[in-house]
């Protein structure tokens, strides 16, 4: 499988993906075909502007009063100036802060547990022998093909039986299964030279100590990438939390924001203020971890829908 699907560059230090992750990469500009640069620049500016318009318009709307938002003709700069009223409304009289807390709690638990058990399993598959190892790994790989969306019906039944509907654990448990992460991590562990571990074994270290004190520290970069993608996936997941939770107090942010309409009628400005607040955490994470995220997508295709 790995040999058949490897179509993108490996993440060798200083390799392509590494260069991609750093910005610029202008080293080989001179060797590139040169469209007339002015034409390229104009096209780029137009396209980037087009891509930013929806977000900027959402922000502009959020900074208006409801009356300004519903006023014709549409204005980018409202008469009477901008206001933070809508943000205040959303933060004080909606459930959004609670939903974001629910999202944070469940996503952090999902990330921590998923990364730990996936790394352990990957190490088990990569470095140890036990009966059934090959079959179990093949099963794990095959499971990558299963779209979680088709499992909503049986999973919901299972949650009913386990009495986990409308609980955090109901949201969390099914999201701990990440065969694709096991696959990515196993590939990484496969490439770590065994000699390092053998030296430690000579010194009397057991497999768990070797895993914890040698393998995991060596894998910091890939663990960071996997953690970020698991977190993003959990934070943005809509379908499963939507299925398993009906109590507004337990909803995660994407579910609450999408399904609970407020009692004050149509509120465009407040809707957009909610959207902007909900968008912020991951945009901030992207600013902080831009390199790992871009590199992760480029080298592993992680994070696909």
């Amino acid at each position: 499988m790995s040999s058949t699907t490897s179509t993108l560059p490996a993440s060798a230090p200083g390799g392509r993906a590494d260069r991609l992750a750093r910005s610029g990469s202008r080293e080989s500009t001179s060797a590139r075909p040169r469209l007339p640069r002015a034409v390229g620049l104009v096209a780029l500016v137009v396209m980037a502007a087009l891509w930013l318009v929806p977000l900027v318009w959402a922000l502009v709307t959020a900074l208006k009063t409801e009356a300004q938002a519903a006023a014709l003709p549409l204005r980018w700069l409202p008469e009477g100036g901008f206001t933070l009223d809508s943000f205040r409304t959303v933060l004080t009289s909606s459930n959004l802060p609670l939903w974001m807390l629910n999202s944070a709690i469940t996503s952090i638990i999902i990330t921590a547990v998923t990364v730990l058990i996936s790394a352990m399993a990957a190490y088990g598959f990569s470095r140890t022998t036990f009966r059934g190892r090959k079959v179990l790994f093949a099963l794990t790989i095959a499971a990558i093909m299963v779209p979680p969306q088709i499992l909503i019906v049986p999973l919901f039944r299972e949650m009913l039986a386990l009495d986990l509907v409308d609980t955090y654990w109901g949201i969390i448990l099914p999201q701990l299964v990440a065969p694709v992460m096991v696959f990515v991590l196993k590939n990484f562990f496969d490439a770590i030279p065994v000699e390092l571990e053998e030296a430690a074994r000579m010194d009397g270290a057991g497999p768990f100590r070797i895993f914890w004190q040698i393998v995991l520290p060596l894998s910091r970069s890939v663990l960071a990438a996997v953690s970020i993608f698991v977190f993003i996936g959990a934070w943005n997941n809509f379908l499963w939390p939507f299925i398993v939770v009906n109590d507004p107090a337990l909803m995660t942010m994407p579910v609450g924001l999408a399904t609970v309409r407020n009692a004050f009628g149509v509120t465009f400005a407040a809707d957009m203020a909610g959207a902007i607040i909900a968008a912020l955490p991951l945009l901030i994470i992207f600013m902080l971890f831009q390199r790992q995220i871009i590199k992760g997508v480029a080298t592993t295709g992680l994070g696909g829908q």
Binding site: P154, V184, V194, F229
Partner: protein, 316 residues
């Protein structure tokens, strides 16, 4: 957002011989004993069995029953659900809608990211800004995307109709009429997810060695010629990857449709997964919903295997 790794990450060090796995410390002084490997994999295997394998099997079983959400029923009905599904016009309608959405979204989601990547790769100043502009929407929760685009598509107060009105078109009832609703979904989806394919293309472009361009320049090829005869052919593998990932992800569309139109008007945007949800959770027919879900799963598996074989042949 689920994940799909098509490409292994390697550490850039020499690969270990996979046929010679190291023993898990059996017979050595260690904490794990002979079955350390099993202990390593056990926690994963437990959740894997409980929340993936079991639901797959249980879902297949449910498809042969008349189970309902309320707990009533549950008797085996043989292939009854499958027979009913094949004769259900809404199954065919939603399948067609799904295919329509998949084609209508995949084409722009290949072309636009390619253009973005080619432009960014020109090496103009402000690289981080371009990348942020194109990739940022991909990190938005789907609900934010839906809220934003429902607002932009709003018939009277929406930005899009405001702009179209300026050139004498409209107003268009984007999400409220059958002829345009799916296009509204496609536009929002393209805006939301183009950034991911853009990064894949950017990585592909950076993988083309400089000497290829130098050779083309020595042969006197102009920029368009280089694009057509060097750059695009060299991106063939990336394009294959982008197309396959996009097809599989577009087929599974649910979230943004549920949030923007709930499948309407008049079922014109109802996708297969929406119909599964409707049957199971609004119609309480878990057995029937499972049957449709399994038919859909079969289609996905066939496509996935076809994809693997396609890539196998390319490498051979």
């Amino acid at each position: 957002m689920t994940t799909a790794a098509q490409v292994p990450a390697t550490a850039g060090t020499r690969p270990r011989d996979p046929s010679a796995p190291v023993r898990g410390g059996s017979g050595r002084s260690g904490s794990g004993g002979g079955n350390a490997g099993l202990w390593f994999t056990l926690p994963f295997l437990v959740v894997f069995a409980g929340f993936l394998l079991w639901p797959v099997v249980y879902g297949l079983y449910l498809a042969f029953t008349d189970a309902s959400l309320t707990g009533a029923g549950g008797d085996l009905v043989g292939f009854g659900n499958f027979g009913e599904a094949l004769g259900d016009p809404l199954v065919w309608r939603t399948l067609l809608n799904t295919v329509y959405f998949t084609i209508a979204s995949t084409i722009p989601l290949v072309v636009i990211p390619l253009v973005m990547a080619l432009l960014v790769h020109l090496g103009l100043p402000g690289q981080w800004l371009w990348r942020l502009a194109f990739f940022a929407p991909y990190l938005l929760p789907v609900t934010v995307v839906s809220l934003t685009w429902v607002w932009i598509f709003q018939p009277q107060l929406g930005l899009l109709n405001d702009w179209l009105g300026a050139v004498g078109i409209g107003p268009v009832l984007w999400l409220q009429q059958e002829s345009t609703a799916m296009w509204g979904i496609v536009i929002a989806t393209v805006w939301w997810t183009a950034g991911f394919n853009f990064l894949l293309y950017l990585a592909g472009l950076q993988g083309i060695p400089g000497h290829v361009y130098e050779a083309a320049a020595l042969d006197g090829a102009g920029p368009w010629r280089v694009l057509r005869s060097v750059t695009l052919p060299m991106l063939g593998r990336t394009t294959g990857l982008v197309v396959v990932l996009q097809l599989l992800s577009s087929l599974k569309v649910f979230d943004q449709i549920y949030q923007m139109t709930t499948g309407g008007p008049n079922n014109s945007t109802r996708s297969v997964l929406l119909y599964v949800y409707d049957q199971g959770f609004s119609g309480y027919r878990l057995g029937y919903a499972s049957a449709i879900a399994n038919i859909f799963f079969l289609i996905i598996v066939v496509l996935s295997i076809a994809q693997l074989r396609l890539f196998n042949r390319r490498e051979a």
